[in-house]
Subunit: 420 residues, 2 copies
């Protein structure tokens, strides 16, 4: 984890903007100190706009933030989890010592102090964020902002989900192939079988399953940009006969399949719809079929940060294992295997952030500075969350409870195509 | 699964006892038919005491029961889940076509029809069955009935929990060794580490960990007979210096350990005490420690059969994964790995039942016929439950959520000592 990387000198920023904020009063310092204490005293420094008033809540690690004016300070302390992101994006807050290290330092203490800030009214304002039309709008917000943008920092196959690194030094390209192969092996795919995929992204897994395992895939997605890309790639790869990309919601899946797979969609389904998803799977899985759901999760239920919900991932929620059981339990599915790939997602995100920063100028030209800063924050915060153990990555294999043709052991997982 | 094995001719039993039950009236037939229908029409026959009146609810499989008198019939229909076991044990009901096949046929339909019979008052009568004293009495009831008895049908090392068969044809002895080694590998034991075991049975796993992985083990159990046996075996094996068997409840565990392990105890803890167990683990696990809980479970919450609770396993309950999260979630543990070994338990139980039947006469001499019949029913019902998917076997590996020294992949599980 590249927690120690320092981006420039914080005091350069601070003194550069010193004048804009005007004079610092003792009440400003008191407000900042009280706020940091309420957050759980994360080991960061926090500096105000005069260049002198620095609050050091913990060890002098060089990790901290500079707040550029009083209005920003007040926005921060009144609704930190929403406004920090917006004010960082707008350049009214600067972070020193590396954004990942900064966020990790805060998340490490959040369990105690700051979780109370998390309960905003955002959730109550969106009673069914993931209805058919709500989902379409949510997904459009994030995934339809341009394939050219994602191409700059995702792997060659355009997988926007946690990779599987057979060893920590594997390349991102290899790790995404290894992930797809791991999923195929967990599903025990055999040539001639049929697979339905819920939430197929740019279609890489569907193409991999068809191309390497000889199965027929029906893959659903409500992101138009992704579906268009997926169909083109399948045509180029000569897989159009085996892979059918359907631009529709998972709730419309019909037919019966030997395998159900969903990688990175459950985060967008919403706990209120887990039972419905379970019924969809129950309807479409053959008696002897296997299913796999791969999703970001967490150990303790906690809503997403309101900033992330508003600016990056509307309608999303990472479930606990207990909450995920709402998919499986009401339909009587049997959980066969759960693997937690938390550190693999931190590693995946580190690759993405590195490529993102390498392409910063091009992305800034595509969008603007605020966009770059917002996405840097999002990717860094995600690395920090997976690193400190606030977020998990659960891969769950399941079957009908009376299916006795389930794998006897895990020996079928060992002969890895992608493994080192 | 040996579902088709037939034990003798049912009609021999029936006509042999024909006279005892007296005349069969049409109300008897109506009661029996209505009862079977309410059960969900399992594909079994059911015969009454006159040798003629046979109700065939499903296909003519040769699997069914003979009810020897009217009083038994009435007991059966008024409280089947308690009285079937008692009346079978007493010889007032005979089963044909094999007990496993008979129970499996019933369990397969129970989801629909008979689950309602399950909700007896037994649970409400025992508000805290698993208090310190309650647990001691419950465990004494089952595990202190004689080491000589268990020696007749368990493996050489006396493991009374689900084995791990690298392939279905492995011997029970090999499969129990493979299970212990699998547990050690999942915990990544290294020489010099310390392990605490909650519920150690006759102490085999503790001896294996110490003998093969060079760790120091403190193993808790409240069954006196088991502890006495465990200490003797450790002395004989020269492991007394590494293994300390403590005759006490898991709630009294003190100290800090590199690993926590519990195989087959959670079933006796009771859901009301899962949080407490979680706090015990939280108190005793080192920051970088790993834990493993191996327990019978189920997909949908359902109380144990009242007969099993009363006669065989007082105070026991197999949790769903959702319920198990009460151990992990409140203390913020991270679930790393779940493996479902359901079919391995059916296989283990088949070995046990076979050895049990081979030693039937010796066991009858130790106890009596009713005991043999009760235990045959218990072991057969368990095979049926695991075979039809009503019971599961979950092996859960966990760690503190901020422990980043967790296994990177599962590659450490593959180099199996016990594997084929």
């Amino acid at each position: 984890m590249s927690r120690s990387g320092t981006r420039g000198d914080p005091f350069r920023v601070k003194s550069g903007r010193g004048k804009a904020g005007g004079r610092v009063y003792s009440v400003d310092r008191w407000v900042l100190r009280t706020f940091l204490h309420a957050m759980g005293d994360p080991p960061i420094f926090a500096a105000l706009w005069d260049g002198k008033d620095v609050v050091r809540a913990g060890a002098a690690t060089g990790v901290g933030m500079v707040i550029h004016d009083r209005a920003t300070l007040w926005r921060l302390v009144t609704n930190p989890l929403l406004n920090f992101g917006d004010d960082y994006s707008a350049g009214r807050i600067e972070v020193a010592g590396g954004m990942v290290a900064f966020m990790a330092a805060i998340y490490r203490v959040m369990g105690g102090g700051a979780r109370r800030f998390q309960r905003t009214v955002y959730h109550r304002k969106h009673p069914d964020r993931n209805s058919l039309s709500g989902s379409r709008s949510n997904i459009h917000h994030h995934y339809d902002i341009g394939n050219d943008f994602y191409r700059l920092w995702l792997d060659r196959e355009m997988l926007y989900t946690c990779a599987y690194f057979p060893h920590p030094g594997a390349t991102l390209e290899d790790a995404q192939i290894a992930k797809m192969d791991l999923v195929c092996r967990k599903l025990r795919l055999k040539a001639g079988q049929t697979v339905v995929e819920a939430g197929c992204g740019w279609g890489a897994l569907a193409r991999y399953m068809a191309g390497h395992y000889g199965v027929t895939v029906r893959a659903y997605n409500i992101s138009r940009e992704q579906i268009v890309y997926a169909r083109e790639r399948a045509k180029v790869d000569g897989l159009s006969g085996l892979v059918d990309y359907v631009e529709d919601d998972y709730r419309t899946i019909r037919g019966r399949f030997d395998a159900f797979v969903s990688v990175g969609m459950l985060e967008h389904v919403g706990p209120a719809h887990y039972r419905e998803l379970g019924r969809v799977i129950d309807r479409c899985l053959e008696e002897q079929g296997l299913g796999l759901i791969h999703s970001i999760g967490q150990n303790v239920p906690d809503p997403m940060s309101p900033w992330l919900l508003k600016r990056i991932f509307p309608g999303s929620y990472p479930p606990t294992l207990r909450e995920m059981m709402d998919v499986f339990e009401p339909s009587g599915f049997s959980v066969l295997d759960v693997e937690n790939l938390r550190l693999h997602y931190a590693k995946t995100l580190e690759h993405w952030l590195e490529r993102f920063e390498e392409n910063r100028e091009r992305i800034e030209a595509m969008f603007d500075t605020a966009f770059v800063r917002a996405w840097r924050l999002y990717l860094s915060a995600a690395i920090a969350n997976f690193t400190v153990g606030k977020l998990q990555l659960f891969q769950v294999v399941f079957a009908r409870s009376d299916n006795n043709r389930i794998p006897w052991t895990r020996s079928h997982l060992a002969d890895a195509r992608g493994d080192a």
